[in-house]
Amino acid sequence: MRRTQRTDGRTVVNRLASAALRAVVAVAFLGVIALPASAHGLRGEWVLNAGHLARTAAHAVGIAGGLGIAYYVDVIRRRTAGSTVGAAALLTEVGTLLFVLVFVDMEVGHVFGVGLWSGVASTGVTRLWWMAGLAGMVTLYMLSYRTLVKDIGGG
């Protein structure tokens, strides 16, 4: 009974933390969208039309969803540290954070015209970094899944 109560308490705290995290993401994104609208110096290629809105929406869904997944996986990693699941969770977490980083860089570049590599490298290098980040993500996912499948007998 005591264990159940403790688990319930932890669940409530975790859900509150998850909701707070999502709220932070939502506010951060509102800021990313609102800043260029105030014509504050830096401006990218963003203009108000269906294509740019769709691209920004796709990035927003990816970033918010990716952060949600990373949070979820982090909870699992901490609970299963030292086990196969914990090792797989670490790979998944790193892969998902890499995905979020690439998507943030893409959207900041889209809206503000600046990115992690702007000023020190060409657009080609930036595109290469995006592709490398996404390829790294799926490679980490593959290694994570391989770790789990080997443990449960999937060959």
Binding site: G51, R55, G66, I76, T92, M106, M137, Y141, G154, G155
Partner: protein, 149 residues
């Protein structure tokens, strides 16, 4: 059982090899003047190599998922494997579309017209990968010891 597993493994490796070969051919045929867009040839090769890494990893991920799905059909692992295979598929599709455009100048998404919409579709495919894998991992972790936060 052993024979069918070996056959599956061989077919998976064959798919991986074919994918790698296809990308190499795309780069090889595109090296003249068809589709390659970067200012530096090294950047072009690096970008194609990155696409190759992504395609290879996603095909391998799908291969592991199909193996697991066959062994655990009907259970939680089977559902997880299906989601993983779907996520790997969306990633491979996105990278293939990109490399076709980069290497051969073949624009599969031309019907969408607007460049921004095309990019949004690619982004949604990557997002689909992350969501599918996150869900699949959570299902397995729920059984093996992790639980829903």
């Amino acid at each position: 059982m052993g024979t069918s597993f070996d056959a599956s493994r061989l077919s998976g490796l064959a798919a991986l090899a074919l994918t790698a070969l296809g990308v190499l051919v795309i780069v090889g045929t595109g090296a003249s003047d068809r589709g390659l867009t970067e200012a530096s040839a090294y950047l072009d090769l690096a970008r194609s190599a990155t696409h190759l890494l992504g395609l290879g990893s996603s095909v391998l991920l799908a291969y592991y998922a199909v193996q697991a799905r066959r062994r655990f059909a009907g259970g939680v692992f089977g559902e997880s494997a299906t989601a993983t295979a779907a996520g790997a598929g969306t990633f491979a599709l996105a990278f293939l579309v990109m490399e076709l455009n980069h290497g051969l100048g073949v624009d599969v998404l031309a019907v969408l017209g607007d460049m921004q919409l095309k990019m949004a579709v690619s982004m949604l495919l990557f997002t689909g990968t992350a969501f599918a894998f996150g869900w699949a991992f959570a299902r397995i972790a729920g059984v093996l010891g992790g639980s829903d936060p």
